[in-house]
Amino acid sequence: MMTRPARDIAAALPARLDRKMVRDLWAIRLQALAIALVVAAGVAVLVVSAGMLDSLRETRDAYYDRYRFADVWAPVVRAPDSVADAIQHLDGVARVETRVRQPALFDMPGLSAPASGLILSLPETGLPSVNRIHLTEGRRPRPGQREEIVLLDGFARAHGLAIGDRVTTTIRGGREAFRVVGFALAPEFVYAIAPGQIVPDDRLFGVGWMGREALEQAADSDGAFNEAALILQPGAGERRVIDALDRLLAPWGAPGAYGRADHISDAFVSSEINQLGTMASLLPPVFLLVAAFLVNVVLTRLIAMERAQIGLLKAFGYYSRDVVWHYTKFALVIGALGLALGLGGGTWLGRLMAAMYIEYYHFPFLLFDLPASVYAGAFAVTLLAVGGGAMLAGLRAARLSPAEAMRPSPPPDYSRALGAALARWKRFDQQSRMILRHTLRWPGRAGFTLAGVAVSVGLLASSMYFLDATRAMIDAHFYLSNRQDVTVSLVEPRPRAALHAMARLPGVLAAEPVRHAPARLHFAGHEERIALTGAPTGAHLSRLIDSRGEPVTPPPGSIILSRDIAAPLGVSPGDRIDVEITEGNRPVFSIPVANVVTTLIGSGALMEIGDLNQVLGEDALISGAWLRIDPDRADTLYAELKNAPAIAGVSLETEAREQFETLMDEGMGTSIYIYTIFAGMIAVGVVYNSVRISFSEREHELAVLRVLGFTRGEVAYVLLGEIALLTLIALPVGCLLGAGLSWYFAEAMSSDLFRLPYIINPATYGYTALVVLIVALSSGLMVRARLNRLDMVAALKTGD
């Protein structure tokens, strides 16, 4: 059955043993390909995740370095420029840049909703010494040109803006139209996300850069800055610098400086890199282990079939090492094929993903050159896995003595194997007995097949789990916790009358007040900086939800914390914590913790709004509102909000939810598709090889059954019953494995930004089982076709 190519290659080889290898390989080409694909999947995952991991780190570091991304940010209410000198002289500070940072609303043509955002100042002349921008198009604002603005590249492109277009912007209540002179990227906005949001939305969150003087005028802050950004000297302690800054800037209303760990864009990028690291360490070993087993099983079978030939070779004077090397070369050819497919596919997939990352993260460049170490690593693990599997099988061949090897092998003895006792079980028919005894006669092989299918089920279930977890996060965040349609934040705290004014705006169905205040919590020597939220008791719109899905409200005079805040402090319900408000007259007070709840997205520290107003020593002030609106009148409302002077930002929860869902469908959908294929490759590799080996071992037996008058279907049952049995046992085992892997992912991939809930939808198991069953069935059917070609006559001519 050898076709021309194999014959030609074989004939071209000098060593006769190598010709034999090529011809033998050709004979088992489908099995070899199935193994190579498993190797390829492992190598590809290794290349993609390790390569992407490396690339993302390199890119991030290079980008941060070239554009002088700050180490520390120090916001203040308003400080004179002269303070910059004092900051520069602090121990450990290498560079300082002071700037004006203003929240803004953009009135974008074609978008009825207001887009929120920030406007940052650039020095009148020269480049900023910290936090530079990368112009993708156009230029920086010219000195003295008040109306010029540079926009964040993604935002400008999302709105189809061109250089020279005008954008109308509301800054501190003043509406002005600016002329766009450039598009830019910035390391501060690798992940461009609005404060309080969980997904980036290029349409609804924008960043602009203006000349310092122009922005000072618009924001009414002549000669003052409200944010300093610092780069530290190498080896300088961030904590010490932050403490010194906080002391220095306290008179200027500093809520507290923070480092990169608390910078939202960097936090998202770093969290993504950590997730890739988890994938890179977990998946490739699974694939390569499966490949090693497959190589071992297939070669062991090949050697069993070639006993006589091996005996002959040794009788002719070939050394044992020649025999071992002969079979090892088999594996190496398979490994090389898998390696080539994996490296090629992995590099291709890596570039594809790199392009996705550029798009998603707004990197000006992406360094995707796979380091030699990744290739070397892939080469080494493949060699180890495949070569190791082959050596074990080869050694078995080498141990055969020539005389013994040339005798036909005796019939396998079932009398002492597990399953002999089945004779007493009258309920089985003989075919079922054959299936059970064959399975139990080689428990190692059956165990491996079972494990292989289970791994495939587990991988699939755990990648599907991400969809379930994200769905649960969306449900908890948007449908239980944040049920408002719009969140409005005010330029500065205003009396309650502002709430009533908002409630009367067209289209507003309900409005609830909120008071936010930056604070530091202290407990037992630990400190956490948080945004304290004051909300009315029994708030309907934005609520903290406990693990049972019930809303929780703090009893009067107490506070509720989310677990991610409470845990690092070591706080339990009933403890008293010290709270230091870091704005206004900076009151310090102590308050009991009424409850600690687990939130899936973001953190929360909640007090009753009246309590918060009281400790702040103020009247009933609000810093924003949650609105439920009539969608039919949204456009009218948005128009009002865009023109309202006191509004600093507007965020639209419905849009955010839709954005999140799109991101999930597209981004996660793609990865799950890829993992389904990879898990399928394992299933195909394991099932096809198991059935194929079983077929070649039992071909004679099956032919005899046909002779005895068994139909094709009945004979197929004997052949495929074993794999069906093992697959059915593997399904629940795989689901358990999937549950375990999912738990691991939930733990390993949760960050400060979000916590993956450990929730697996029963349908996930169903879908997974279905996919694996289909794969197993098709692999079985591929072999079943051979049953139809069974040569009954030939089977009877030999004893085996």
């Binding site: 396998p412 002999a420 004779a423 005894r437 006669r441 005895l708 068994f710 279907g713 009945e714 009954m792």
Partner: protein, 248 residues
Amino acid sequence: MGETPPSVPTDQGHDRACFQTRGLTRVFGEGTTQVRALRGVDLTIPSGEVVVLLGASGSGKSTLLNILGGLDRATDGAFEFRGRDMTTITDTALTRFRRDHVGFVFQFYNLMPSLTARENVELVTEIAADPMPALEALDLVGLAERADHFPAEMSGGEQQRVAIARAIAKRPEVMLCDEPTGALDSATGVRVLQALKRVNRDLGSTVLLITHNAGVAAMADRVITLADGEVRESRRNEHPVEPEALSW
């Protein structure tokens, strides 16, 4: 258990021939590598006889037996089983034919290593229309007390007798035996032949027996000699001897 096509209708009367072939031809391969294994075989095998097929290697004995047993199809010519044309029926009907009417015994016993002696017999009795109990079949070949042993625990002769028990348990109308004693010593071989003769006598099965061993022909009712794919001689043996009188 899969398909159940209509059984091949047969006439149980002994007056009709069990097998009748006309111009049966079997060609393997094509062109220069073509081998004509059977060249127009015309034969009539009456029911209830013990028939021995003699002939050198390559004379076409096994090919003829395989076609009569429904394992292979003729390239040309026709053959009937109890008056029913077997050359044009479907594969499924051929499977049914083997299942219901034919018992096979081979030189290499072809037992299922994963089944005990009794289970090997039950493998066939489970799908047969009117089988005898497995233990009875094993008793007929003198192996009732070894019923729960696996093939790996039995001698060659014992394995062959299990194979015969497997073949007779369905009460087949035809027993097709290809060199059943080829791998056995003389004493064991005689026991196997005794078992076959007993089936012929007790169940009325027609027994077709291929052998290299001309001595075995003495037990046959009819001896057919093949050479080069043709019937060289077909003669009736008026005085068949009992198997125990044979030796080689």
